[in-house]
Amino acid sequence: MSQLSAGTFALLTAWGTLTGMDLVTFPQGLLSRPLIACAGAGLILGDIQTGLVVGVLLELFALDVLPVGASRYPDYGPGAVGAVVLTTGGPWEERLGIAALFALVLAVVGGWSLIWLRKSNGRMIHARAAGLAAGDPGTMTSIQLRGLAGDMIRSAGLTAVALLLAQAAQPYLPAGPRFALVTAAAIGAGVAAASGGAVRSAGRGPRLRWLVVGTGISLIAAVLT
């Protein structure tokens, strides 16, 4: 694909920002899931199929993660948007593995940036301790809005970096059928991640039996079709 136009870049940045914010602050409505983030990026780029392919693979990795409370978890959204840009314009069979590696690195960076934001919010609260101790609603609104703005800046920055890196790297992506093996390894890693997460969530109770039944039906369907 050629360089992104300014309008497309802006739209992708806005979408990536929303997916990044959705993970923790607002609105927490599934937009941060890689499949949704990638489908949106594919729509913006006019290449929904590539968006879905990248999204399906990254969603397998994300199925391993429960975004529980104070734990550290990867932020897939912005990197997933960049990964779609990286994959477009060439055979996805050769590019998908490299795009997944790219998205996973950015997901880790995104996770670190969340820790930084949480500590920054803590410092902001310390600085406004007097207002909170007085129960001042203005102080609470100010902290809340600054926290949201901080996450918006974090997500926008991460998306912009992802898009710039994807655009810069795209012309130099290695090509050839042997890179389909990288894609194959990425699919295997994704299935391992999703299966590991599913088994861990299932424990040893009835959910494990339902998981086994679903997997069995699916494997039969995959063989028959």
Binding site: G55, R146, R178, L181, A189, S218
Partner: protein
């Protein structure tokens, strides 16, 4: 208090907006409580000031269920329950609301929804399924938020009993079972869909990587995360592919 309901509901959608390691969602709760406490300001300004301080203290729960606590604590302020008792209720609600919400949504509804979306993509109806899943999920999320805030406001200090008697604890287990089934259905079919255009050699690499991943998870447990394994496996494959003639 009723005039502020919608504003409080809206503010609850970003209750984690200033999440931090000290008060966690405390400030978000205080921000959301403010429209509900407005009526108290004219009636009892001293109580209002105390209630505002309490509203922003440490709190953490599942974000979708925070309304239960917000409503109950606000109602308790209007009922002039002693402050120490309100703080105890706040602390007591933290773990159950977190655990219930995590079980129902993060470990149940979310994986089930994404499993359905994956199945839709594999079946060739990707975009339509994704839109439907987004609408249904967010409908459920908004509905739960409204119910939570209303229930909290209606029951005040007795919210624990109201939660216990409600649909919430009853649906968490079935949601988990459905998630297990749907994820079990979706993962192999998604892999098959991605591998369809690839040759036998690629399929072999996928199987070897999958077995290595499961083996690593079995041997190393939580020390190896999906992302760590993915980075190592794809990185190694990339180095090997570069070296191939």
């Amino acid at each position: 208090m009723t005039g502020g309901f919608l504003r409080a509901l809206w503010r609850l959608t970003s209750v984690q907006g200033a999440w931090n390691y000290e008060r966690m969602t405390g400030v978000g709760m205080g921000h959301a409580a403010e429209p509900l406490l407005e009526d108290l300001k004219s009636v009892d300004p001293v109580r209002y000031a105390e209630a505002s301080v309490r509203a922003a203290e440490y709190f953490n729960s599942h974000p979708y269920l925070a309304g239960l606590a917000l409503g109950a604590l606000t109602r308790a302020e209007y009922d002039l329950v002693p402050g120490a008792q309100i703080s105890r209720l706040r602390t007591a609600l933290t773990s159950p609301l977190g655990a219930l919400g995590d079980r129902l949504f993060w470990a149940g509804v979310v994986p089930a929804a994404m499993g359905v979306a994956l199945l839709g993509v594999v079946a060739g109806h990707g975009l339509a399924t994704i839109v439907a899943v987004l609408l249904l999920y967010n409908g459920l999320r908004v509905g739960t938020g409204i119910w939570a805030l209303k229930t909290g406001l209606a029951h005040g200090m007795k919210v624990g009993n109201a939660i216990g008697d409600s649909w919430l604890p009853r649906v968490a287990t079935p949601a988990g079972l459905v998630a297990g089934l749907v994820v079990g259905l979706a993962v192999p079919l998604a892999a098959d869909w991605l591998l369809a255009p690839q040759g036998l050699e690629a399929m072999g690499v996928t199987v070897v990587t999958l077995l290595a991943g499961l083996g690593a998870a079995w041997r190393l447990g939580p020390r190896i995360t999906a992302v760590k394994f993915g980075l190592v496996a794809i990185g190694l494959a990339l180095i090997l592919a570069w070296g191939l003639p």
